[in-house]
Amino acid sequence: MIAESMYQELILEHYKHPQGRGLRDPYDAEVHHVNPTCGDEVTLRVKLGDGGKVLDVSYDGQGCSISQAAASVLYELATGSTVEESLSVVDEFTRLMQGRGQVEADEDVLGDAVAFAGVAKFPARVKCALLSWMAYKDAVLRSQV
């Protein structure tokens, strides 16, 4: 019953009640990422403000509970923080997800995203968790050029 531990209450809550979902204007960059193995997809927009402030992250897409909950958690963590802060969270989250379950997560950096630690034990699902986070990183880079 390892998988049940993957589906933390926090993940299921975010899945059933996604935060910040829906595409909004205005935005600086929009990206569309897909996971070719399962067909999950996300369209994501970022709006940045003065001093590298992340004013809004809006998204829409389809996918499993892991991918949808990860997008919702990303929205909560990134909106209101700075580009620099949020990208360091993305890096820590990526390290955790790619750690095959061997990596100790830094809870101070990750906040709620630490609930995804169990996903790292399922290689087939790591891409689900990372989909919107990689899209966010891509969108931020594009909006800065």
């Binding site: 019953m1 049940e4 509970s65």
Partner: protein
């Protein structure tokens, strides 16, 4: 025709993997045979015996092992030829898989070295497939269209998961060079009627190929009865090993076609600037072939024949009817494909309202040991047609039981509890 009695418990004993336990003491409930089937001892033993006692390269070694290995390899061809009713054993070509078999045929079209008019393809010519194809019967034809400037067209699929033949006469016309369709859908389970399409194909002078990857393992298929020009299928879905597939083609067409891969064993004579080729089937079998895999597939065909393909078909029909009834009672479950057992095989795909198939598959596997396939099953266009990103698919074979379908249904109720 009388159907021999079918003892599924005895059959299960032939497949050692079915009695293994998964981590945590879960029993294995394998409902993913449409993806790849499990192997009986008869196949495992035949392959082990060949490796242990007879192995050597084929066709070129003069020593005792060389001739034993060649004999076993060619005997497998005989068995497979008989199994599918091939008029000649030389029409059975071993490939790596069904994808290679289809690519081999597609490569013969619009190929400058092939001057046979039936294979000439250029701008204005048309290739016809269907919306329910596996990617392996889509992409090779897309590549052919791109190469030659020909137009790729397709039959659409009805809401019930049947092929729509309404525009058959328009779709298959004088510009059509080849029609390639699945015998049985790997998602819908639909078994397509070949003859109405074939009649039209013959009328316009085109060629016809059937992707029988999902039918040959599950029902009697006789290529002479089908009467099409090419049939492709794969070993690993029919109790045989992976790494071997089969192309059957009409001898006269195979002889007209250019080699697909060049290399050892496919030649007659080689000079520095040109070569002549071996007769079929070897013209299409460049390099050292999958020898042990061929032996294994021969053993698989013997095994399936000993059970009886009619009996297997009947058993799967009962399982399918049972599954359609049981799944139909689950609230929020939508079956993608025919809801009756008529002209349908034992592949049942479905969606659960509000729950992504990946989540369904993960819970089924991890809590109940139920192995199903989730995703688009290499048939993305078909999923787009139904407006869904993915489905959960249960697919049955001779060794499955109604108790396993009960386990699936229990698992789905639990999934709904977790995500409800």
């Amino acid at each position: 025709m009388s159907v021999p009695s079918f003892d599924v418990e005895r059959i299960r004993k032939d497949f050692p993997i079915l009695s293994r336990e998964l981590p945590g003491g879960r029993p294995l409930v394998y409902l993913d045979s449409g993806n790849s089937s499990q192997k009986p001892n008869q196949v495992i033993d035949a392959m082990r015996d060949h490796l242990a006692q007879h192995y050597s390269n084929v066709g070129r070694a003069l020593h005792a092992l060389g001739s034993e290995s060649t004999e076993a390899y060619e005997a497998a061809r005989d068995k497979i030829g008989q199994f599918i009713g091939a008029p000649s054993r030389d029409e059975v070509i071993f490939t790596k898989n069904a994808s290679e078999a289809i690519n081999l045929v597609a490569y013969a079209f619009g190929n400058p070295v092939n001057t046979d008019d039936r294979f000439r393809v250029g701008p204005g010519d048309e290739i016809v497939i269907t919306e329910m194809e596996h990617h392996s019967n889509i992409v090779p034809w897309q590549l052919l269209a791109q190469r030659t400037g020909a137009t790729l067209r397709w039959f659409s699929v009805t809401d019930q998961g049947r092929l729509s033949l309404d525009n058959l006469d328009e779709l298959v016309n004088e510009r059509t060079k080849i029609v390639s369709i699945a015998h049985q859908s790997n998602v819908l389970g639909t078994v397509n009627s070949i003859s109405p399409i074939l009649d039209r194909v013959r009328e316009v002078g085109a060629l016809m190929m059937v992707d029988a990857s999902q039918s040959v393992p599950h029902r009697p298929v006789d290529v002479a009865d089908l009467d099409v020009d090419f049939v492709a299928f794969t070993g690993h879905k029919m109790a045989g090993p992976s790494g071997i597939g089969v192309l059957w083609g009409r001898r006269e067409l195979l002889e007209a076609m250019p080699p697909f891969l060049g290399g050892g064993e496919m030649i007659e004579a080689v000079w520095m600037d040109h070569s002549t080729y071996a007769p079929v089937p070897h013209k299409f079998e460049a390099g050292t072939p999958p020898i042990v895999e061929a032996v294994g597939l021969g053993a698989a065909v013997d095994y399936l024949t000993s059970i009886g393909m009619d009996a297997i078909k009947q058993h799967e029909r009962e399982l399918t009817g049972y599954a359609l009834d049981a799944l139909g009672e689950i609230p929020g479950l939508r079956i993608i494909g025919p809801r009756t057992v008529i002209a349908r095989g034992g592949t049942v795909s479905f969606t659960l309202e509000g729950i992504h198939p990946h989540d369904v598959g993960q819970i089924l596997d991890d809590v109940f040991g139920v192995a199903v396939r989730v995703g688009h099953h290499c048939a993305r266009p078909l999923h787009l047609r139904f407006g869904i990103p993915a489905t959960t698919r249960a697919s049955f074979y001779l060794y499955n039981t109604t108790a396993e379908i009960d386990a699936l249904v229990r698992g789905l109720h639990h999934v709904q509890k977790v995500f409800g």
